[in-house]
Amino acid sequence: MPRIPLTWLAEHTELPAGTSALQVATDLSRVGLEEEAIFGAQVTGPLVVGRVLELVKEPQKNGKTINWVRVDVGPEHNEDLDNPKDPQPGEERPSRGIICGAHNFVEGDLVVVSLPGTVLPGDFAIAARKTYGHVSDGMICSGDELGLGEDPTGEDGIIVLGRGHAEGLTGEPGDDAIALLGLADEVVEINVTPDRGYCFSMRGVAREYSHATGVAYTDPASTVEIPSAEDGGLAVRLRDDAPIRDVEGCSRFVALEVRGVDPAAQTPRWMARRLTLAGMRPISLIVDVTNYVMLDLGQPLHAYDADEVVAPIVVRRAQKGEKLTTLDDVTRTLDAEDLLITDSEGGEGARVLGIAGVMGGESTEVSEGTANIVLEAATFHPISVARSARRHRLPSEASKRFERGVDPQLPRVAAYRAAQLIVEYGGGEIASRITDEGGIAGPAAAPIALPLGDAERVVGIAYTPQQVRSSLEMIGCTVEDGTGDGAEGTLAVTPPSWRPDLVIREDLIEEIARLVGYETIPSVLPTAPGGRGLTRAQRARRAANRALAEAGLVEVTSYPFVGEGIFDALRYAQDDARRGAVRLLNPLADDEPLLRTSLLQTLLPVARRNLGRGEESVAIFQLGTTSLSRGEGSRSPVPAAAQRPSDAELEAILGALPLQTRTLAAVVGGASGPGSWQGEVAPWGWADAFDLARRAAAAVGADLEVRQTERAPFHPGRAGELRVTAADGTSTVIGHAGELHPAVVTEFGLPARTSALELDLEALIASAPAVIAAAPVPTYPVAKEDFAFVVDQSVPAAAVEAAIVVGIGDLAESVHLFDVFTGEQIGEGKKSLAFAVRLRSAEATLTAEQIGAARSRCIAAVDSAVGGVLRA
């Protein structure tokens, strides 16, 4: 994101002296340019100019020769006397002794000295230190050490005033070198939202800074001198045969030649410095100027070696299989959608020069010997550039700007500005003819009609007509009176060329709101008409959650991503419906491309993780979503969003979505509590799994029926279906519970006999009656009767209980199984089930005869239903 050196910002605005980077960042943030980073002064402390008084070359054992130097660093910093044990070379006089390994300086040169206490870039603190047999009382600095980069002439090691980095500079010993070299520059890096492409330039940021603070602003584009030139420069043909979304890839192409530039000309120090501060590396005058103008105005430029380009230049789409070696030395295969700049070497449009707005190629690159250049300043379609940049993973400085939209008025201005700078610093002559193909992009849309009262309607502040008008004018809009007068009036607003994001009146309202200031918006809590509170399902989910927490379980979360292996680990049959998982196109991990179809698929690994982290037992639950694919062929249509889709379209959109539900699952295993002085701690087991399911059901007001079943991942003899009964009597399986299969227990490293449950929480909640009808509370005495029935081992207790209830009828207040007994007395393959039954009538005290009759009905019913015999 753009970096804004404050000294550069000050060129276009009247930045008050002494303004800090933090203050600038705060001001910019108020108008919507968020601070990303602040880069403070790169060097602090006593960095001063020094004069080399004497130097002695001292060869070392390691073959190197070092200089032992007496440097005059000004009266304020000099030591009057030498250290008698380590005298400096030459006549004793006020100075400092410094060791230096570079050899590009002589006695009498002015150099840059970092004295002890200086902190150089990279938090490099300078101190006096003993080296090569002397105490070096500071350091003579190179450009690299000061963060200025290598010497621009490529010759010097350390900086000598008047040359290289310090070209044109001079000073006296003791002068502050930080100011002299411009090392105190502070830089603010900002984040630019996609709608504000124009803020990818000093021009745009300076404008926003003036909006934020009210300081004067000069548009740098307005100060460029544009000579009246004739058309007829280098021939350019715009030939887009396959526009993306019906927009030509290149709407304007300006080409301007500059001939006779001195190939050896150097980039001026100030420009190189600014480029560095803005995060770009200085390369050569021509390249640096194009980058500088891009950073300043926002218009990307490209310079070609004019002697290498064969006219005409053709802007066209790539052909399949075409290749280009880009400036980063990578050969890329082009896509038919890539917009290319080509020339006519080997036929018209035959040679690829670059991907438009993204990156140039090697063939026509400016080189060390280039004297004649063609400057390209074009307007490319944002989407075309964005797609190419993404496709080739080339987020260049140019593409970043084109993607966000570049002011279509800029190409000619920027081309001349660059040409003028090149001529100013490198000589040569600007061609008298210019090429300006195409025109200013963008529909010449009608002005936006903005009722004067609209900003108030949306923002809630009574803006004056003057505030509305001046805000819009400040951002560069042309504001004219439309229909109506006064507060009823409507303005006709034409946004400036650099604001393609301003399309509807709400866009203008945002501009008014942010220029007047978001902080002026009052705080008014709206009064909603009154809602219906949480839905029954929402309340029920809370209750289920709370019930399991109260029962001793801890709620956890898990990611929904799974791999196919989990289905085998959980022993699903090949045709198990739960293998029908939704598959992701771009999963986060290649081995987990699916979305869980059962919560246990991700909860069991969480159980394993907890045990791995030192837990000795497990009691966890989760409320999460599970899904089942409707098949790979399922497609959700994507109609235009300009209006509400038709009901049929909407049904198609929603109907394609996978089946999804909120599921509740729990895993319990190991000791159900810590070891206790109260006696043995029962381990969690299969019965707990069913009990927890029933507790959850009870918490949401539903009732569960359990039936024996076999189902993965459970123990074949210790699993049950969980069923609910709808109001119409239909019974539906909504989940399962039981002890996990021993192989699953082993697979996940769980405590023996770990048990689990999983149920469709939405279905469970839906099964709960909305209203429970009251039951009578009779006060006649209760009669307690116990029964023990001997039945086959295979007869479920629930069936016996049901028979008892049916047999006794209304008199049965409660039926509760309290004992199960097997043994020799009962016989092989049999079991005895003992029930406590409470009988009560709503009408009268039960007589002995009534009780006896109830007993008989009970015994007969159990006999006929399950063949049970009353145990004698």
Binding site: S523, V524, P529
Partner: protein, 368 residues
Amino acid sequence: MSDTSPAPEAPSIDEAAITAAIDAALAAIAAAPDTAALKQVRIEHVGDASVLTSANRAIKDLPKDQKAAAGKLVGQGKGRVQKALAARQGELAAAEEEAALAAETVDVTLPTDLRPRGASHPLTVLQDRINDFFVGIGWEIAEGPEIESQWLNFDALNADPEHPSRSLQDTLYVAPEGSGMLLRTQTSPVQIRSMLERGAPLYVACPGTVYRADEIDATHSPMFTQVEGLAIDKGLTMANLVGTLDAFAAHIFGGAPITRLRPNHFPFTEPSAEMDFRCFSCGAREGLDHDADPNCRVCGGTGWIEMGGCGMVHPNVLRAAGVDPEEYQGFAFGLGIERILMLRNGVSDMRDIVEGDVRFSQHYGTEI
């Protein structure tokens, strides 16, 4: 019984003997160490064979003129003894009960955690709290599926077809390519669903799990929880947005709320803003004229906490959802619940929230 023991000789009531018997009885009562001994004392001193009882029996045989004095002497003496007995009985019984209870003393500091309570996940608890806030101001809680249509997640929300958030680097899509389905990246599709189903006016909060193609680290997770708010009505303004955010901030973080909006850009709102809450942790909470603690772990010394995006619902979004933007307008905002949890409760690592370690949940207990 008077005729069972014929008097062997003429009875006489010896005053001294009676007095001595009373004194002996009282002394024995006082000396009885426990209720069992006291029972024995009762038998010995006021039982059938006791001096006092014998004397009492003998009164009837006394000469008439002595009967009254003897009756009084014996009767009063026996009364004193009975009273002392009752008093001593009460004393001893109380002491004995006290001793018995003392013997039953238990160590009440013994642990009682046969089956300790579990815990809800703190995200659930916080989400409930947030939902309760919205219900409290008259809004409803709307929900939707996590596997969502591209149309609802992007197109209906005015996201340009080229918008970078649609890329495979940002969004997890359902296979195969072109399925038109994805893991929702925001709960905004629930806003659209609510508008499509209920129309305007509408005041809903939409909490839920969302997904992004992010690698997990201390501050990012590919799965996280959001709550978005949407209010559509006639005449709602940005001032109402600010008012709602202020009330929310006060409810969740406490204190006098200060919120700040900064201009920003989102496809689904216009005007758009980034919302900051004034730091609730350091000195900055005292007001705009108070500086933040430079080392504040919550705001990092800036005095502000970035909370999320918000703005006035874009007319294109209203149109796509079948609401007439000429008649209705409204605002929307989105907040990250993990972020609130991290700030509010000082969670330093996002992974703790999502990895399912029971110690993380247990620690919170039931924070109401």
